[in-house]
Structures are given as structure tokens and as C-alpha cells.
Amino acid sequence: MISLSGVTQHYGIRPVLRDIHLKIPDGRLTAIVGPNGMGKTTLLGVIAGTLWPQQGEVEIDGLRRRRSVEEELAIRRLMVYLPDHPWLPRERTGREFLLAVGALYDVPGERLLGHVERLLTLFQLTREGDWPIRSYSNGQKKKVAIASALVSDARILLLDEIFGGGLDPAGILALKHVLKRLAKIEGRTVLMTAPVPEIVEELADEVIVLREGRVEAHDTIEGLKQRANCRGSLAEVLGRLIHPEMLDHVQQYFDGDGR
């Protein structure tokens, strides 16, 4: 279980996260949603350990982040974090990069070789897998980055803006199936940010709604619908929860047009 208590985070003067209390259970696919600049990536960074909150604590399976060398190493072995803009080695092939990440997570040799092959097939990179990454298109780079998170076999996956970055429809479809299966059948914990409510509605067991650095809601999709008193799509539900004024703004926009 991922547990956050009283987490407050700011880089400069303005707090990005304010007094966040969360418990994210194991084996669920949880999506973080919210308006731009409201702390989704920051929240993921705090859990991933790239950011150090000014207040509060982050615990993974009862191990506290950065409290001791042993605890931190144990946490790092448990989870993989894929940011929105990872760095890839230009001169390495996709296959070599995936092998290196797998080796970093001590995935046994035979499993690693087979897994890399299956991932390359899954993301339609069988031929490109042996080309240097510099020759890949943006979508292919995104695919190989996603594959790097999957090849780790980590029990907790933290994925930032996983469906962005030029993924083609086949890639999106493959990723949806993989994430669903990882959470539902293999019992892995997936925590992701996604800006598209339709994808979240299709995949997520739970949704964390962030607004102005605070947790506005943390519930199942059904729970959110009840809370918003809306039986429509998740986009509408989120509209009510996060931007209750948004429809008024739309009306004002057209009212202000003098034509």
C-alpha cells in the first residue's frame, strides 16, 4: 500500500501540494486527474521519490521513503517510475535499452530476454528493436519508454502522462490491455496520471481528483458519480467536481460575442 500523510510540497513560494492524505491500496489501477498545474505530476514525483516534501511522509508497504538506506533500497526495488519526459540513450538500440533496465531490476536472464522480445512485439517494434533509438519516431520512443517500465517487473508502476507523447491507436490499445491485466490479474499497483477522462473511465479502479493542490476526491468511478450527483460520463462528473464554473464560462464566451 502507498500511504501519504500530511504531504505538503512547494518548489518556490506557492505550495503545489497541500496537506495530502492518501492511501492507495495494492492491486488497483488508480488514476490521478485534475486541471493542468494542480499537482498531478508533483504528487507522482513525491511518491516516486524524486521530490522531497517539505512536510509529511510517504510510505510504501510500511517502508518510509529516505528514512534509511535499507528502506529506500527496498522501496526502489518495489517500484518503477516513468516520468512524462524520460531520457533515452540515443546510440543504444531499443532492445539494448530494455535489457539494461531489466538488468537494473535484477530480472533473471532468460525471463528478461523473452520479456523484451514480447514487449517489442506488443508495441510493434520487432524490426526497430535493433535500430539505435535516435532513429525512432516520437511515438516509437514513447513506446520503448513504456516498455522500459514494464520490463522492470516492478510491483508498483508510477506512470506520468502515459497515454500522451504520440502513441498510435494500436499502442494505446495495447497499453490499455496490459495495464488492466497487470492490475486485475497480476495484482500489481498502477498509479498513473492521464488527462483524458475516457481512458480513465475505461481503466481506473479508483480516481484521485486533485484541485489546487488538495485531494478533492478519492473514490471509485461509481463513487465519484454519486458524489457529483451525475450519471453521465466521467468527463461530465469531473467537470462538475473540478470545474463547476466551466459550463458558465462557455455560456459567457458565446454571450460576449456581439454577432
Binding site: 518548489y11 521530490l51 533500497l73 531520457w87 540513450p89
Partner: protein, 403 residues
Amino acid sequence: MNMALLRWLRLVAPPAWITVTLLAWCAIMEGIYAWIGSTLGWQALSPRFFVARDVACLAAAAYLGVYRIAAFHPLFDSDYLSWLWLTPWRYDKPLPRGPLHLVLQDVLTVGLITAFMLHRPVVPLEYAPLSFFVTYYLTLALSLWGVDLRWWGYAVSALTGLMIAVSGRSSLAGLAVAALVYIPAYAGVRWTLATFPWSQRTTAWRKGVARQWQIFTAGHRQFAMISVNLEHPETEVHWPYSVLHAKERPSFFGKGDRLALALLAGWWCWVIFSTPGAEEMALGIGPMLYVMLLGFVVSARLIAYCGNHRPPISFWGRVFTLRWIIPGYDKVFLTPLATLGLGIVFPIALAKLQFEPPLILALSFPPFLIAGMLGGPPLAQWRLTSPARLAPGVRNQQLVEEI
């Protein structure tokens, strides 16, 4: 008979081109000397005419010293080492490629080089064997370090410094010290062979050095030709895997190594700058080197600790939220500050106490090096437990692509 003699000589002889080049160079110098002397008169020739010849002879002797260890030690040749592992060779048998210890052939070879300088030498003749001994002992010290006999290596290195210091005052006495240093050096060679095959750390070190050299000498286009390093995959990946991985990085330099290296730096500084004729360097190039090394140690420390581990909040964040000091993070600056302080205070204090410039340099190097290399917190601990914001660092655009 001649062939047998040649075979005997070739046991430890350097490549033929070295000998031929040296012979040709000496012949040319003697020829020019004879021609000028016979046409312009011998009095027209400066005694310094043979500087180039003597420098070539000293360089050849120094090369031979390196060659005797580098070419014959299995540590420096992975093919030789791998092959030796597969054979039933034991330390009580001769090394197949040739001995590491000195043999009669070495005496003849170095003697021959010295003989080339016999006609009107510009420097004392003893400098040729001394050049040989300096590089032979230093390369041997490096090999001892490489096979995990580190303290023996440091000792041989320090004694080589003593040999140079004595040679600067009396080259004959220097030769006597060189002969004495051979006792621990020879013991080191025997010990090296007795501990074969060496520890895993040795193998890792040798592989690591070879790989870094391969990467260093390859252009970024050729980089792809170097196979991916799955033994140390953390060197193959970038943000965020490079800073968030759970691989513990064993340091090749323990605390003892760092202390020894700091003390050796001071010792060698004294050896070099106190040599008669080099005192002026202690006032010229010495302080320059000192400042450069001090700057390097402080910068390297800051880059290693803060390159990927930035303050948790920005400068203006600190100012406006009145968190001017973040003790958990800012403690990382204490060691660089102490290093800088010691590096400045020591030479000034010693100068005020009227110490000689070489001694000022020699005594000032170790304190700041010890502080810079041994000051806490340990890097591995800092990387895992510091209250820092992890950042990707500087991107080498030729090797790294950001999505």
C-alpha cells in the same frame, strides 16, 4: 650462438622499433656532431649539443620501465589473463610471456641505453637506470594496486619518491636507494603471483578501466559498437533510472585508500618541488597546481553530491518562506567549505611560519585532500537518504535523447 644470444636477450627486450629508432637517433646525433666538429672546429660545439640524444636515451629507459610491467603483467592484457586462467600455471612456475621481476637481460638493455650516452653526456649517466627504475616501480605500484595489494602499491610508490628525492642530491646514492627499493618491489611481484587468480574486485576494476577507456576513445557514433554493459546497467540508462535505481555502487576507493592518496600527494609534491633545481617551480607552477587541484576537489565534490540531488526548494522559495537554511540538505556544503577553508588557511599559516615553499606545498596538500575525500556524509548514503529533489543533471545531447 648468435641466435641463441638474441633469443635470450629477447626474453624481456622492448619491440625492435624502439631499439632501431634509438640507435638511429644516436647515430644521427653522433654523425652531425662529427661533421660539425670536423668542419667548424670542435671548440664551436656546445656541451649541450647532446641534450636531444640524452633526452631520447632517458625516454627510452623510462619507456622500458613501463614496458617491463605493462607488457608482461597479465593484469594489463585481458587475453593473456583469460588464457592464463585456463592453464594449470602456478606462481612457482615462470610466467609464460616473461618475468615481471628484473633479470640479467634488463641489466644489459639498460646498460646499452646508458652506453649510448657515454660520449660527452649532458646529464649524469646514472639518470638512465634511474629513469628506468622510476617508471618500473611506479607501473609496478599501479599493478599492485590493481591486484588488490593496495597498501603495498602505496608503499612502493612512496619509496620511489624517496629514490627520486635522494637522486636529486646524489645520483649514485639514488641508485643505491633504487637497489634497496627493489627488495619490497620484488616481494610485491612474488605476492602478486602467489595470489593469482586475483579477487573479483580486481577483475571488476580491470574491466571497468578497460571499458571506460573504450568509451572514452570511441566517438559517439562508434559508441553503439560497444556492447551494452549488463553487469553495471546503471551506466547504460538515464533519467530517471540513473538516479532511482537500487543498485549499490561499490566504491573502489575505501577510506584507507583516500587517506593514503592524500598523504602520497603531499609526499610526491615535496619530492618534485624540493629536488635541487626545481625550487623555483615551487613558487611558479606549484601554487598554480595547488589552486587548480583545490578547485577541482571542491567542484568534483559539489557535482557528485548536488549534480542530481538539488535543494528541495528553490532559492527564492527559501528566501520568501524564511527557510534560509535547510539543515538536512545544507549539511552537504559543510565539507566543501571545510576543504576550501583548509586549502586556504594551511599555506598562509605555513608561509607565516617561514616554511620553505616546497614544504608549504607538501604540508598543505594532504589536509584539504583528506577533508575533500573523507568528509561526510558518505555519497551512497546521501544518494539514498538526503532530503533532496532529484534532477536529471546535464544532458549530453550526443548520447541522450529526451522524449
